[in-house]
Subunit: 340 residues, 2 copies
């Protein structure tokens, strides 16, 4: 069973409830955390038969709003739904938590309730970057805007731990995001991190990678500070969207055409675009993992649609089932594996 916060996100409670029903119909058992009356009313409206699916409710009337300052919100509302969900995870009643709510509050609640993995200084947000052939895990995507070299080394180990245990990947290839592939390129942080990664025998470090090469080269993990990672992610999303929008505009013009020819082209282009948008949209992956805390926590986009949140629930389910992250001490050991 995994916990889903019902009042989180821009379209709560409807979208989380819809996603929960779809997931439950696939056999994913869920603990719905939020105000009981709202949950029961919503589910009954969506599907009067909801009780026949693996759905349980955990009443938690207090919610930390999207614009509340996370730590202050947690202090004011010690029984907020996100805290209740984390406690369920801590107590082993669920194997993972997903929320589309205030991501700062999710992170703070995770750190306070679950604690950090032994050896981890800062948890990181890890997400899969769209890629023509295989997704690449990028971290940190924004949790830590100012980093020290050893944080990035820890991010590498967290990524390796995740891909190895959840995806069964052997010795994933780790690259360091930089403005040039040469080891001399990068800002001060990148240069110092390069040296750290190169000398850690627990890391299959393949060197620096430029962002445009991320779609071409054979790497599994890209590490970076949260500021650069966020710039990377949003640049890719933005550029892909611009290109797709420009083509869509051409297609819209064609659709207005009266000829058979223009209709044929428009239909082909519309289908191609649809497939492409899906590939290009990082949100398809449904959520990003909060790595470095003692438990499986997924941060979904506040603007996630039902389909996206469903995909996030599946991610949480998959990662939670493998119980790979909880209580791991791999990071501390691996940090000591430096060859020098």
């Amino acid at each position: 069973m995994i916990a889903l916060e019902i009042m989180g996100g821009d379209y709560a409670p409807l979208v989380p409830l819809e996603a929960a029903l779809l997931a439950a119909k696939q056999g994913i058992s869920l603990l719905l955390v939020g105000p009981q009356d709202i949950i029961v009313e919503g589910l009954t409206k969506l599907d009067p038969q909801w009780k026949s699916y693996p759905l349980q409710i955990c009443d938690a009337p207090e919610v930390i709003g999207m614009d509340e300052e996370p730590v202050r919100g947690l202090q004011k509302k010690p029984n907020a739904s996100i805290v209740v969900a984390m406690k369920a995870l801590k107590e082993g009643r669920v194997s993972g938590v997903i929320s589309a709510g205030n991501s700062g509050a999710t992170m703070a609640a995770a750190v306070f309730t679950l604690g950090r993995i032994n050896g981890v200084t800062r948890p990181a947000i890890a997400g899969f970057m769209p890629h023509p052939t295989k997704p690449v895990l990028v971290l940190d995507l924004g949790a830590n805007t100012d980093c020290k070299p050893h944080y990035l080394e820890e991010f590498a180990l967290l990524g390796i731990n995740y891909l190895t245990s959840v995806h069964g990947k052997h010795s994933p290839r780790v690259a360091l995001l930089s403005n040039g592939h040469e080891s001399t390129k990068g800002n001060q942080l990148v240069k110092e991190t390069h040296a750290l990664l190169a000398q850690n025998t627990a890391i299959n470090f393949v060197g620096n990678i430029e962002p445009d090469r991320a779609f071409v080269e054979d790497v599994d993990i890209i590490v970076c500070d949260g500021f650069a990672g966020n710039i990377f992610l949003k640049s890719v999303e933005g550029a892909a969207k611009v290109v797709i929008d420009l083509i869509s505009r051409e297609v819209a013009l064609l659709k207005k055409g009266e000829t058979e020819e223009s209709k044929t082209i428009a239909s082909w282009a519309a289908n191609t675009l649809k497939a492409l948008s899906k590939k290009a949209d990082c949100k398809e992956h449904g959520g990003a993992l909060l790595l470095g805390v003692n438990g499986t926590v997924v941060v979904a986009h506040g603007s996630a649609t039902t389909k996206q949140l469903l995909s996030g629930i599946e991610l949480t389910w998959e990662a939670g089932a493998k119980k790979t992250i909880t209580g791991s001490t791999v990071i501390k050991e691996a940090r000591n594996e430096r060859s020098i």
Copy 2:
């Protein structure tokens, strides 16, 4: 007249000579800097009538290679072609310099020979980012990987100076690249820079901008440190290329089809892609400006094609003709315009 380094770039001397001829045929007068025999031989092969165009030759046999360490290269070869070109600019014989050669050497030669503009700590590389409606000037794109807040303030002033004087833009809108639009978002550098920009009355500061909003919002200049700027640029180029490549693959499949229908679609898609690639490719703009030195200097891509280099020559010609950058003291004055 502007100076073009002939031995710079991956395809020298052919591509620079071809681009020079095309530019000269448009009426742009050029000083070709490099080994005289190679230039004469190349031009004669390309067009025996080359002497009827506004082309002059300045013999400079020494060249700093693409992989030479810039400062050491300059010390070893005080008469290298890039230095000779900068001297011509310094002495007023040309109004601008463009090179597709070693960009570090170009920057170092510019700083040593021309000097920095009064009030500028670090010169910056400024380029136009592709945009569906109007290009946005982004700086720094990679000259300074580690910055202080006042460098970014200077970049803003350099960008304003350029757009105002060369493009006649009134009070350009300046944004600061960040991971969130709120003033509280960003790494330490961005937060401190935000405060500096907000209190400088010479800057029409519109706040933070996320990279995906750069294609949507009404801004003229985006400032950032050279590391983040380079990540931004290369992410955008990379993502646009991936999307276009994916469509191209579909188009290639269609072309193999025998039916009239598939041919019609393939022809439409190929044309649309061609137009799009042009829009998406930052290299179309031909080169990036080195702002902050006393003179018009353009750094072209080492891999620039003839067409791209021609576009860079036009950029140099346009910026050089306005003589806007040389000897400006606007930066120093503007830096003192802080309201507090």
